[in-house]
């Protein structure tokens, strides 16, 4: 790659059954896959591309624990400590 020019190859597929082995083989051959765009979720494609798992579940869990703790402490404060 002389002069820092990046080269891209774009592939178009009309069947996910062809796309899958293509993704695997391209990666095996040492190329970096920038992205794959699909009109519907193709299960397992993220693994085939080597994408990292999302941490959405962990984030959701932390939010939920925070919310529950806030709610229970609030109710407890109101019912027990703030009654005149």
């Amino acid at each position: 790659m002389a002069g820092g020019i990046k080269k891209f190859v774009v592939g178009s597929f009309d069947d996910e059954a062809v796309l899958f082995p293509a993704v695997k083989n391209v990666r095996k051959a040492g190329y970096k896959i920038h992205d794959v765009f699909t009109p519907f979720p193709v299960h397992g494609l993220d693994h085939a591309m080597g994408l990292r798992e999302t941490s959405l579940h962990t984030a959701g869990f932390i939010y939920a624990i925070t919310g529950t703790t806030t709610a229970l402490s609030g109710i407890s404060y109101i019912l027990v400590h703030d009654c005149h």
């Binding site: 009309d14 996910e16 059954a17 062809v18 899958f20 992205d35 794959v36 765009f37 699909t38 009109p39 519907f40 979720p41 193709v42 299960h43 494609l45 993220d46 591309m49 994408l51 999302t54 959405l56 579940h57 959701g60 609030g74 109710i75 109101i78 019912l79 703030d82 005149h84």
Partner: protein
């Protein structure tokens, strides 16, 4: 090339006709790209007219007070709370389809989930109107929010089911809205990418939040759907449980019963599926989507109707039996005189409820009737009427004769403004639904595409050949091996 997916031939196809991915987009997006039909305009204008009548009815109620409704000192809850519970119940089918059936991996949900979720959101919007305007002094509505205030501080009562109703309904609405809209994103992007005019490009472009369909997007999307399904699943059970607590935690004969929560949840799913049927049967016909909402879908929903209808019937008989068996004279009076006695002022409503909810759904034990569209449409209306009367029976027949016979109410019938308010919520519901059906894809395009190769009619037909081939090969191999 290996087949990625396989589904048993015993299962009916979920997408009929010879479809490929492009055809699916064409079929579902076509109604959005065409001018609305004359029928759409007529329906839309009627809905808006009803909505305006509802707004005027509310205006009367706010200006002159709750006296505008024919409520009296014995019947403090009439049509308004009946309508509230009815609308909340309607919403439950959408959540059940989108959340519980997603977790149970029910493929048939893909055909109806989008419209059912929209129905849920609009139904909850209608339901919410009733407790809000019933407050009378609606400008004090913010009193239901728990925040430090200068009224004492006077906190809300965390022991009251009415407060938990506020939390339950608002959570339900928020989660349903998120679920529905996040599911819409990829399909709005599809509409955006096909848009020809500048305005449409901008409108759907903003609405699609920059969706590209990248694998990363899909990964996040799928995981968000699972999180939201996990959040919605308890809501299917909790929302109507809390609604039932409004009654069950009181000491009013006919309400003071422990079976209310499961009984209400079953009734909610029952009425919700009836409403989905009413809407879907019209939508599939008008928008020409019979290939996606097939007889198989209608049959599956009718099975849910006969199941939940029978649970509801079982609950009716249980509470009747326990009222007698419990030997509480007040409880038994409410059941034997106020309800089951056909010649008492409201006896007719009890028997109408019994007929609509318990007797008539039993027709659906027959496969032929489950797959008959006319019968299903008719039945869905019957069930909706029946479920409205269930709430009417519970509320009015319990309160119109209280412990003090001198305050026993004379015959209660709603005023025009009370009825107008109810009609107004129909206006709101259908105005929203007409707009939704015109501007949004009523079927989840991406989800249909993801099940097309397993459940599409043409793909399944191809699979039959492969199945036979393999069986023969397998047989030959086995026979050779044996020799």
């Amino acid at each position: 090339m290996s087949l990625l997916k396989y589904e048993s031939q015993l299962r009916e196809p979920l997408v009929d006709g010879d479809k490929d991915y492009h055809q699916v987009t064409e079929d579902i997006v076509r109604p959005i790209e065409m001018k609305p039909s004359r029928l759409w305009y007529i329906g839309f204008y009627i809905s808006v007219a009803l909505l305006l009548f509802g707004v005027y009815s509310i205006y009367r109620e706010v200006t002159y007070g709750i006296g505008q409704w024919n409520l009296n000192k014995t019947i403090g809850w009439g049509w308004d709370i009946t309508n509230f519970v009815w609308w909340v119940g309607i919403g439950h089918a959408g959540t059940l389809i989108s959340a519980i059936l997603l977790l149970f991996r029910q493929g048939w949900r893909t055909g109806v989930n989008r419209a059912a979720e929209a129905m849920t959101i609009f139904a909850v919007m209608c339901a919410g109107q009733f407790p809000i305007w019933h407050m009378g002094r609606v400008w004090m509505a913010f009193f239901v929010l728990p925040y430090p205030n200068s009224r004492g501080p006077l906190w809300v009562n965390f022991n009251s089911p009415l407060l938990w109703d506020v939390f339950a309904i608002s959570t339900y609405f928020t989660v349903s809205l998120l679920f529905w809209y996040s599911g819409l994103l990829p399909d709005l992007a599809t509409v955006r990418d096909r848009a020809k005019t500048k305005f449409r490009k901008m409108f759907y472009g903003v609405a699609a939040f920059g969706w590209t369909g990248s694998t990363k997007h899909w990964q996040r999307h799928e995981s968000l759907s699972l999180v939201l399904a996990g959040l919605s699943t308890p809501l299917v059970l909790s929302v109507h449980t809390i609604v039932s607590f409004d009654f069950a935690t009181s000491i009013v004969p006919g309400w003071h019963t422990t079976i209310f929560p499961p009984y209400f949840v079953a009734g909610a799913v029952f009425s919700g599926f009836a409403m989905v049927q009413t809407l879907m049967i019209v939508v599939r016909k008008v928008l020409n989507l019979q290939d996606y909402i097939t007889l198989g879908h209608i049959e599956a929903m009718n099975k849910v109707i006969v199941l939940t209808g029978s649970i509801v019937g079982c609950a009716y008989l249980t509470e009747l039996f326990i009222a007698w068996y419990g030997q509480n004279p007040y409880e038994w009076y409410a059941f034997s005189q106020n309800r089951a006695n056909l010649f008492s002022p409201y006896g007719w409503s009890y028997w109408l409820m019994m007929f609509c909810n318990v007797v008539s759904p039993q027709l659906f034990w027959s496969r032929k009737l489950r797959r008959n569209i006319t019968v299903t449409f008719f039945m869905s209306i019957i069930v909706n009427i029946g479920m409205w009367f269930e709430r009417f029976v519970i509320i009015v027949t319990s309160v119109y004769r209280d412990y003090l016979p001198s305050s026993w109410s004379t015959y209660y019938s709603p005023s025009i403004w009370e009825i107008g308010f109810y009609l107004g919520t129909f206006g709101l519901f259908f105005t929203c639904f007409f707009l939704f059906a015109k501007y949004f894809p009523v079927i989840a395009i991406a989800e249909i595409k993801s099940i097309l190769k397993t459940s599409g009619e043409n793909y399944k037909a191809k699979m039959t050949d492969i199945e036979k081939e393999d069986a023969e090969k397998f047989y030959v191999a086995e026979v050779e091996h044996a020799h």
